[in-house]
Amino acid sequence: MKMLINGPDTVVADALRGLADAHPELAVDTEKRVVVRRDAPVAGKVGLVSGGGTGHEPLHSGFVGHGMLDAACPGEVFTSPVPDQMAAATAAVSAGAGVVHIVKNYTGDVLNFKMAAELVEDDGVEVEQVLVDDDVAVTDSLYTAGRRGTGATLFVEKITGALAQEGAPLAQVAAVGRKVNESSRTFGVALTAVTTPAKGSPTFDLPSDELELGIGIHGEPGRERRKMMTAREIAEFSLDAILDDLPPGGPVLALVNGMGGTPLLELYLFNAEVHRILGERGVQVARTLVGNYVTSLDMAGASITLCRADDELVRLWDAPVNTPALRWGM
């Protein structure tokens, strides 16, 4: 598989240098592997740190900036970062008001963030963890590592970021993050397998006339494989899974997210099906975001995330944000 890289071993470091070149407003430490708002720590503000394996760009480094994350720790491709990175990021953004760790529910991420929290708490930094586990494709939570954190991570990071920017205290910022997670559900499909730089070939075999339903964002196969379906059928299948599980309530925020290898034209087409079906089922969409935000390298496919949002969540969603990947209101 051809890739625009210098070699598989230096992909993350090389990409971080490019991120730094493009975004002088971010302090990028390629040694410690942390990406921090240059104005951090912001006096009196709760710090927000997230992180995870790379390969999901713009998540998380592309969401560092005013009104969203204070720092991100990029790990190796699809591999959780290590506690040292998370501790360094936490220290860099700690202004004395406490720090929220936004953690996607994967065994590795959870363990490493837990060890990092212990490290910084020894230094007197108060940490609250917000766990994101929105993926309805993982059904049997008792007999698995639990639901995966996927698309809702963007909602959690944006909304907690907005509240922290307003100066809310630690407990309140963490509480809104948990509320967003509990109000969100995601379902994803893959049309192609993913190729990691280290492996150089697709991580699973997917025939050209089949798709994987219920995939995660790490190239792991889904729960079910079927013959290729139309966008309309995929949207129906995905929304059935989501709406079966989504708590009842009012309007939703909708994220129609590309996995990295699907053109925006197809994502907008997919979004039209999503809106049509939600309209038929009486679900009002308050805001929609379409694009590649929580990706899986070169995988073709998409995920849908819905978040039940009251007026307060919509207000925080609309609040000004200025990051490499999300920018509005300022």
Partner: protein, 216 residues
């Protein structure tokens, strides 16, 4: 003649473990691509090479020191789930050995039990969940049973390695209940667990280190 379990023995184990991760890393990654995310061999190779480099700079002079040093490097360098799990297992095993300059085969058994406890506690898995524990638990049992029946270190470690290997192979028909493979549900059946496989490789490195010493 059974070797003495001193710092030098554990350093020879580390060299053997690093070599086997270099050699078998691609196979581990291949196993991981079937039911995980295709990076286990890459991560283990990176971690053990980092541990070897760090230990070479400042070689610890006790068995506990070597294991704690390796564990810390794995926690700092590996990431994913395997970094904290392998790292904490080795670090706690090393701590349990204290600062003695050599340890007995029975103390090694206690250290291995400490490692099993660390992995169970941190990962929340039980035997049969298709994880590294499915190689660790039978392996430590076989080692203890061999010692109890009067076997020496070399023989007991050989029994441990054989049991770990069987335990890893026995994960093939299991459905994963922990870690990333659990997301596959029934589709995880029919594949050998990469974590159990790397445990078997590490214990085999112990057995080969002892045997190599004994043969000399």
């Amino acid at each position: 003649m059974d070797p003495v379990l001193d710092a030098a023995f554990f350093l020879r184990w580390l060299a053997a473990a690093t070599e086997v991760m270099d050699r078998e890393g691609d196979r581990l990654t291949e196993l991981d691509s079937a039911i995980g995310d295709a990076d286990h061999g890459i991560n283990m190779r990176r971690g053990f090479n980092a541990a070897s480099d760090a230990v070479a700079k400042e070689p610890p002079d006790t068995p506990g020191g070597v294991l704690v040093g390796v564990g810390r490097q794995l926690i700092s360098k590996v990431g994913g789930a395997s970094g904290p799990l392998y790292g904490t297992a080795l670090r706690r095993a090393g701590k349990s050995l204290g600062d003695a300059d050599h340890v007995t085969p029975e103390q090694l058994r206690d250290a291995l039990l400490t490692a099993v406890d660390a992995v169970s506690e941190l990962g929340g898995a039980a035997p049969g969940d298709k994880t590294m524990l499915d190689a660790m638990v039978p392996s430590v049992q076989a080692y203890g049973a061999a010692l109890d029946s009067g076997a020496g270190l070399t023989q007991a470690l050989a029994a441990a390695a054989a049991a770990a290997d069987e335990g890893a192979a026995a994960t093939i028909p299991l459905q994963a209940r922990k870690g990333r493979a659990s997301y596959l549900g029934e589709r995880s059946i029919g594949h050998q667990d990469p974590g159990a496989t790397s445990i078997a490789l590490l214990i085999d490195a112990f057995a080969r280190t002892a045997k190599g010493d004994a043969d000399e």
